[in-house]
């Protein structure tokens, strides 16, 4: 009976320790601040720009003299694109979509990966072997090529459909490593006493997996998920760069950069601003992920 409060106490101190270790890592803190700032800017920015200048991400000026690409100025801090649209507003909207794709696709991969890995690890034996063989097989498939086939053939004219397809495709291909990590953790955990105790008292298998094993697997999963987000964002950008991802008038950092590349010789700011914004965000996310790994996994911590 007294076991419960002790476990809770031990749990909080573990997370609190990790939090303190994270705060001591200056680069990770910087990454956290930058990611936070980016999220706030992407969420609030377009509204503020609209109030200040009347521009939205797809507002094309009525005056035909304004329908061209202006270099950065006070009204348009990042300049405008060839249709005269405010680039800052487009970059912020692109950020919304890029971050959303990253988070949702990572979430999809989390659900598939955790369920699959935990099941394989917990059941063990022949089933585990077969399930992990399947993962090995999927690993050696050039899956990006299949995503390209999928998006270019099923891609519809509706931008929202395309976006949904993108979430699904990217989530479905990035769960493999997650399932391996979860399986490894579960195998190392499942023979420990508290699981044995649960099994002895007749707790169902499902409940053991979801209530007893899952919370303990959380550390590595959080770390890997943080590192998956920038990866997925990069893949989304890659697909949008090829013209297969987010479609106009919507924008993502990838599609904005692709547009910028076409006009690089004349309007370099069209590439530089979305490109650098994206690079800074990915940079911050990667540093945050690295810092989390060092904080949550003291064994591999830098000395």
């Amino acid at each position: 009976m007294s076991a419960i409060p002790i476990e809770v106490l031990a749990g909080t101190s573990l997370w609190r320790n990790a939090w303190h270790r994270l705060l001591r890592n200056r680069l990770a803190v910087l990454g956290m601040i930058l990611v936070g700032a980016m999220v706030v800017a992407c969420a609030a920015g377009p509204g503020i720009i609209y109030r200040a200048t009347g521009y939205t991400y797809d507002f094309i000026p009525k005056d035909s003299g304004l329908v061209k690409s202006f270099p950065p100025s006070l009204t348009h801090p990042m300049g405008t694109d060839i249709a005269g649209r405010d680039l800052l507003a487009r970059v912020l909207l692109g950020g919304r979509i890029s971050l959303m794709v990253g988070i949702i696709a990572t979430f999809v991969s989390l659900i598939i990966g955790i369920t699959y890995g935990a099941t394989a690890g917990y059941l063990g034996g022949k089933i585990d072997e077969a399930m992990m063989r399947a993962v090995d097989v999927l690993y050696s498939i050039p899956y990006m090529m299949i995503v390209i086939v999928l998006l270019s053939l099923f891609g519809s004219r509706s931008p929202l459909n395309q976006l949904f397809l993108l979430f699904l495709a990217l989530g479905a291909v990035s769960w493999l490593t997650m399932s391996r990590i979860v399986r490894g953790q579960v195998i190392s955990l499942k023979n420990q006493e508290f699981v044995l105790a649960a099994r002895a008292t007749g707790v169902s298998r499902r409940k053991i997996i979801f209530r007893h094993l899952m919370p303990n697997v959380l550390g590595p999963v959080i770390v890997y998920a943080t590192l998956t987000i920038p990866n997925v964002m990069l893949q989304e950008a890659f697909l949008s760069f090829l013209g297969l991802g987010v479609q106009a008038p919507l924008a993502s950092w990838g599609s904005l950069a692709a547009e910028g590349i076409r006009n690089i010789a004349v309007f370099p700011w069209q590439l530089i601003f979305p490109g650098v914004t994206m690079a800074v965000t990915l940079f911050s996310l990667n540093f945050l992920g690295d810092g989390l790994r060092d904080a949550l996994d003291p064994q591999t911590r830098k000395m």
């Binding site: 097989v137 050039p142 999928l150 370099p268 690079a279 540093f287 591999t300 000395m303």
Partner: protein, 306 residues
């Protein structure tokens, strides 16, 4: 060992067929057809076209034909590039992709291993921080941003290298694509080398080597490298798959006549034989390369037996 190799080689067949089936299924499930384009085609012509390419037969007959052709190594004729067989297109485009892929690979390994080892040996020094920050930048800067920025700087401002053309291997046209392609792998290799070396440098046998009075150079090069580079070796398998996607972007940016560029066009044109041919070829290459990596692993790490 031999048994392992033979078993893996045999398992390559069903895997390639699986990938091909998946791709073929996707193409067939997708709405439309390769001739549904901007032009409206008369029903009689459409019927002839379907008959010419065998699309009028039931799907299982077409599937069986495709499979038997692939087993014989014949991927058919391209629908878009008329009169050219897929094998011809592969033969023409592969050298381009292989050249930049291989050069990028070599560049990534040499710079990445050097930087990673240096960072590990001088852990927490300025060299360490600088190279790891650079590596993080390499991972975070998308290659389609890096490439055009290099073009802007070195082709449009400095006139050092051509922005978009292909003159074959020993020429200036190779430099920018290879640097663009290799950046992210260099970064990964450097990070993997660093963490691998750090782990090994703490191992007991390194302490033994130090106790024997060996100089640091020999310890790092002869003793630590072998174990420290294992993560890099196991990364080279997946790296090839990433390189394939990387070449798609780089070939697009620099307008190179390589396989990746053709693959994108094939998809946009719904050129079924060409799509399937490139996918099949790439999966065979990846599977064989993974096998080579596993064999190399067994040679480097004596603990591994197959």
């Amino acid at each position: 060992m031999l048994k392992f190799v033979i078993r893996r080689l045999l398992s390559t067949f069903p895997m390639v067929l699986l990938v091909v089936t998946l791709t073929w299924g996707l193409i067939r499930l997708a709405p439309g057809n390769f001739y549904t384009g901007e032009r409206v085609i008369a029903p009689a012509i459409e019927k002839n076209l379907r008959a010419k390419y065998g699309f009028d037969k039931p799907w299982y007959v077409q599937y069986a034909k495709l499979m038997s052709n692939i087993v014989r190594g014949d991927f058919g004729t391209s629908l878009k590039y008329e009169g050219q067989s897929v094998n011809e297109i592969l033969r023409r485009t592969l050298p381009v992709s292989m050249t930049i892929g291989l050069l990028a690979y070599i560049l990534a390994l040499s710079i990445g291993i050097a930087a990673g080892t240096l960072a590990a040996v001088r852990q927490n020094s300025r060299v360490d921080y600088a190279s790891m920050t650079l590596a993080m930048l390499g991972i975070s800067l998308p290659n389609f941003v890096l490439g055009p920025l290099l073009v802007l700087l070195f082709s449009l401002v400095m006139y050092w290298f051509p922005p978009a053309r292909w003159d074959g291997f020993p020429s200036r046209s190779v430099v920018l694509p290879v640097i663009t392609l290799s950046a992210i792998y260099t970064a990964y290799v450097a990070r993997l080398t660093r963490s691998g070396m750090l782990e090994v440098l703490r191992a007991d046998y390194i302490r033994t080597a130090r106790a024997k009075g060996l100089d640091e150079k020999t310890i790092v090069r002869r003793h630590a490298m072998r174990g420290g580079l294992l993560p890099v070796i196991s990364f080279s398998g997946p790296a090839l798959a990433f390189l394939v996607t990387g070449t798609v972007v780089v070939e697009r940016i620099f307008a190179l006549p390589g396989m990746g560029n053709y693959f994108i066009n094939a998809n946009l044109n719904r050129d079924e034989p060409l799509i399937i041919g490139i996918v099949a070829f790439t999966s065979i290459a990846i599977l064989l390369f993974n096998l080579l990596v596993d064999i190399a692993y067994a040679f480097v790490d004596p603990r591994i037996r197959y």
